[in-house]
C-alpha cells in the first residue's frame, strides 16, 4: 500500500523534499515506516520518531492504512530559548 509522507523544517532540508509517496507492506506500523524512510533518506538517521497520521499525533505502534498522510516532525523549537 502507498502512504504520503511529509517533511517539515529541518527534515525537509535534510531530505530535500516536502512530500513523497512511500510503498509499505500492508499492516505496517508507524515505526516500520520511519525505519524505511530513514533507509531512503539517511540524513534522518539518529532522530527520534515524532509524527502525526492524518493530522493526529501518534506513537510508533500505530498501524497504517493505504492513503494515510504521515507528517514527520523534527524536535520542536517554538517560543524563545
Amino acid at each position: 500500500m502507498k502512504v504520503t509522507v511529509r517533511f517539515f523544517a529541518l527534515y525537509r532540508q535534510l531530505v530535500g523534499t516536502a512530500e513523497t509517496s512511500v510503498e509499505v507492506p500492508a499492516g505496517a506500523t508507524l515505526s516500520q515506516l520511519w525505519e524505511q524512510v530513514q533507509g531512503l533518506f539517511t540524513g534522518l538517521r539518529g532522530y527520534p520518531l515524532m509524527a502525526a497520521v492524518n493530522g493526529e499525533q501518534c506513537d510508533g505502534t500505530t498501524p497504517l492504512s493505504g492513503g494515510d498522510e504521515v507528517a514527520f516532525l523534527p524536535p520542536f523549537s517554538g517560543g524563545r530559548r
Binding site: 517539515f8 529541518l10 502525526a52 516532525l73 523534527p74 520542536f76 523549537s77 517554538g78 517560543g79 530559548r81
Partner: protein, 134 residues
Amino acid sequence: MIELTHQPLSPQALVDQVQSGRAGAVVTFVGVVRGESEGRQVLYLEYEAFEPLAREKLHELAVEMKARYGVDEVAVAHRLGRAEVGEVITVIAVASAHRREAFEACQFGIEQLKARVPIWKKEVFKDGEHWVGA
C-alpha cells in the same frame, strides 16, 4: 484564545482580550527576536508550524493552564514566517484574581509551548542558516 499568524503580533491586543472586571492580575510573557545567537549576529528568524496540529496543541495548552492554575483567562499567540530582530514571536497572557497563579500559569505556558507544540525556528545569519532544536 489562540493565535498562529504570519502577521506581526500585538501583545496589547492579547492583554485586552484576557482582561475583565474580575481579574486583578494580568501576567504577560513576550518573546522577542534577539539580534544575537551564541555570539553570531542574527539577520532574521523564520518560523514554521505543522499548522492543524499546532493549533490543536495551543488550544489544549490554554485549556490546561486554566484548569491547572484556576486562572480566569488565557491567550496564547505565536508568530509564523519571517520575523525581524525586535519583532514579537510569542505572547502568553494570563488573567487571574490573584497574581501568584497568573505568574505560575504563564511560566508553565511558555515552557510547555516549547516542549509540545510543533513549531520550528530557522536562524538566518550573514554567512548561513540553520534549523534550531534538532
